[in-house]
Symmetry: C2
């Protein structure tokens, strides 16, 4: 063992723990200031305040307890290190749909490292199957480890790699595809796959977890079951994200890949469909489809377009922000901008001349709103009209993140010589449910 038994503990606190013969992973009881705490002793981050003990409570949360003079600590039981048991190799149940689980990394494919308290990518798709043996009753499952990435490290080349892998398995004839993915950038990847794999013949389901699979409060198993069931049985061929709808385990939402963002850092129901409802829900073993504009499973309209050009840039506007940054980026080779403006799609008036200069140079400038919900409308106020005249393209109700991904995809597919009109036309064309044309506003029920 290369890690000390009490990593992260020093001084008086360490002495107290040693006196009681306590190691990380043991169940202990702490009485401090008249309050009693019971849980698993966790390792701590080296730079943390040395006067605290970190306990994992039975609800899965970690708390820090300050050790004072009157604090008593006792050991309840020695910790058994968590283990992942492999089930016996499942007998293939004949007649079940074929689902491929492609593992790319993230919390759903990770475990808490008990020596450090940190979460590390560790599990491959096989391990996931071992943790959630129910899956073998839903589908005949094959697994493929494509990447082992925390999703903040997912880059455009990984979108292309994922699209290639999915396309490969579609051509091999699977009935559905599941990709495990870190939650941080899962929305961006879902949008990228929606543009790269249009109207696929089978469901393509991205799934993640907000809590790692060895925590009691983990959402990994319930999300994964819903994802596999959707991939196996859903009547649609769409790119979707499967995540908890509520904080409870009973409903998993299937979000359209171009409408979903992570809107909470840590809650199990962090993912939300924006300007749109989820297209389906998975509850009590049943998939309930609620959208009526879906590409049917088995359709012949599948288009595979996995090209992306990274030379697109998302700029979030803020008061007193200088527009020079746009020129600097354009000079460095950026071919198009998505500006996350205020309200209906505004930036301050002193941006107008520089934006006009950019569009005259053939650089695309699209507008979304930092409000996230609702749609841009640049005809209402003077600033919006001035920006329109300067060549800004209002991107209706597209999410900023999705607009950026779509711009990378548009630039990649149209190639180097593409003109502004061509880019604009494709950006405003609905490819995968990412942009809805203006209808009678019903903005008071979002």
């Amino acid at each position: 063992m290369d890690m000390p038994e009490l990593q992260g503990y020093s001084g008086i606190v360490r002495k107290l723990l040693e006196q009681e013969n306590i190691s990380i992973g043991d169940e202990i009881e702490i009485i401090s200031d008249g309050r009693k705490y019971r849980g698993i002793l966790m390792a701590r981050y080296e730079l943390a305040d040395p006067n605290y003990i970190t306990l994992k409570l039975s609800n899965g949360y970690n708390i820090g307890i300050r050790v004072a003079e009157n604090t008593s600590i006792s050991k309840i039981s020695a910790g058994a290190k968590p283990m992942f048991m492999r089930p016996p190799k499942p007998q293939t149940l004949s007649g079940l749909p074929n689902v491929i689980i492609i593992s790319t990394g993230g919390t759903i494919a990770s475990r808490v490292e008990y020596r450090t308290g940190a979460v590390r990518p560790a599990l491959n798709a096989d391990d996931l199957l071992a943790i959630v043996p129910e899956l073998v009753e839903i589908a005949k499952i094959d697994t493929e480890v494509l990447y082992s990435l925390f999703s903040e490290n997912v880059q455009v080349q990984h979108w292309i790699g994922m699209a290639e892998a999915v396309d490969h398995f579609i051509h091999k004839g699977v009935d559905g595809v599941v990709l495990t993915h870190g939650t941080d950038t899962m929305g961006y990847t879902a949008a990228a796959l929606s543009f790269a794999l249009q109207k696929p013949p089978v469901p393509i389901v991205l799934v993640g977890a907000q809590r790692s699979s060895d925590r009691p409060s983990s959402d990994a198993a319930t999300n994964l079951i819903a994802a596999v069931a959707t991939a196996a049985k859903a009547p649609f061929g769409e790119v979707v994200v499967a995540m908890h709808k509520w904080h409870s385990d009973d409903i998993i939402a299937l979000h359209r890949g171009t409408r979903v963002i992570k809107l909470h850092t840590s809650s199990r129901d962090a993912f939300r469909s924006v300007n749109s409802r989820p297209i389906a829900y998975y509850q009590h073993g049943e998939l309930k489809v609620v959208a009526n504009d879906l590409n049917p499973r088995g359709s012949n309209n599948y288009t595979y377009k996995p090209k992306f050009d990274e030379r697109a840039f998302l700029v979030k506007f803020f008061p007193s922000m200088k527009p020079d940054i746009l020129s600097i980026l354009a000079d460095s080779g950026i071919r198009g901008f998505i500006i996350e403006g205020t309200g209906l799609g505004h930036v301050s008036s002193d941006w107008v001349p520089i934006i006009r200069e950019l569009t005259e140079r053939g650089i695309f400038v699209g507008m979304t709103s930092q409000c996230k919900f609702g749609r841009v409308n640049m005809n209402v106020y003077d600033t919006g009209r001035d920006l329109l005249k300067a060549g800004v393209v209002p991107l209706d109700d597209m999410l900023s993140e999705v607009a950026l991904v779509k711009l990378m995809w548009t630039l990649g597919n149209l190639g180097e010589g593409a003109g502004l009109e061509e880019i604009k036309k494709l950006m405003l064309m609905n490819i995968a449910g990412e942009i809805y044309s203006r209808s009678l506003p019903n903005t008071d029920s979002w």
Copy 2:
């Protein structure tokens, strides 16, 4: 009259309108494809599709109706131009609190220009009083026109100007201050005033409108009444934002100035408190205070610190984004960054070396999350820990927008020579409810 009677209409549509002797502002009826529409003919934006007619319906919404061969148009009544009637100068009701309404612009202080269909800033604080005569029963009101700005044009110097004006009226002894403000950047301004005017002796209420005051669906009057009542009577001295809680008129939420963002482009209930509830609600003429950590009205702790330094920059991270932009901005004089990272506060690993370089040069780098809800926690994953070691300061549950404003304020107040430790200390100190120290997480009920 310098505008034509049918501005924005050309070709066949214009001819049809001329045949019926219809002008902009007239009430008309259109029958098209078997559907009947009735409303006010609106002027149109010159570059719009010439085959459409824009009607303002009785619910206040504008719709575009396509004119086809079978379309019939008839005039119902000639339009009377809308007028704002001044009420007789209100008799001062003795015993009422003194409230100053400072007008800075925005939709709440604007009207639809019937010639162009556009919204223009036009009303001053006196006009608002004329539109909402109920106000004179709530408070003795004085008015001051400070700016007439669409809020996307509000800059740091305007925050300072507003702080100066509010401070002036506080010293004159008003019982409360109302600032009318465009909604686009009202959240940023509310944060700025929260830091510049700490623990004020009276309520400072920012108020806006999502629909201009001459539209039937306008929220201007109800928001303004709640704002004036709060300024006049609230038992707290806090900077708050008064906007609709629901789409209906019955409840106005009073959001803490450092916790509020515009989360919908156009809905009347666009404003939300993030990681916090509103501190009070105004309903049926009553103010219900729900927060229990408020600075009481009349407290002696007022601190006036209106300095801001614009050399702070907000960067929203996205996949494949290159970190060079940070160095370029730092070389151009930026003193600090707020990075809106993914999830718990991450950017891709290849950012770490450049961030370390920046912090070693004394440039502040703070981390917030693009998830908006929840808090950053950089101890969970490797990337977070690497960023911490590189000197990134995790900004807990602060909104990105508020963190940027606070960084401008911190840099302004500490001055040129400020060291990183000093900046970090102030950024992590709770000044106006913008940052809550870590407590037992309750992330599943956001």
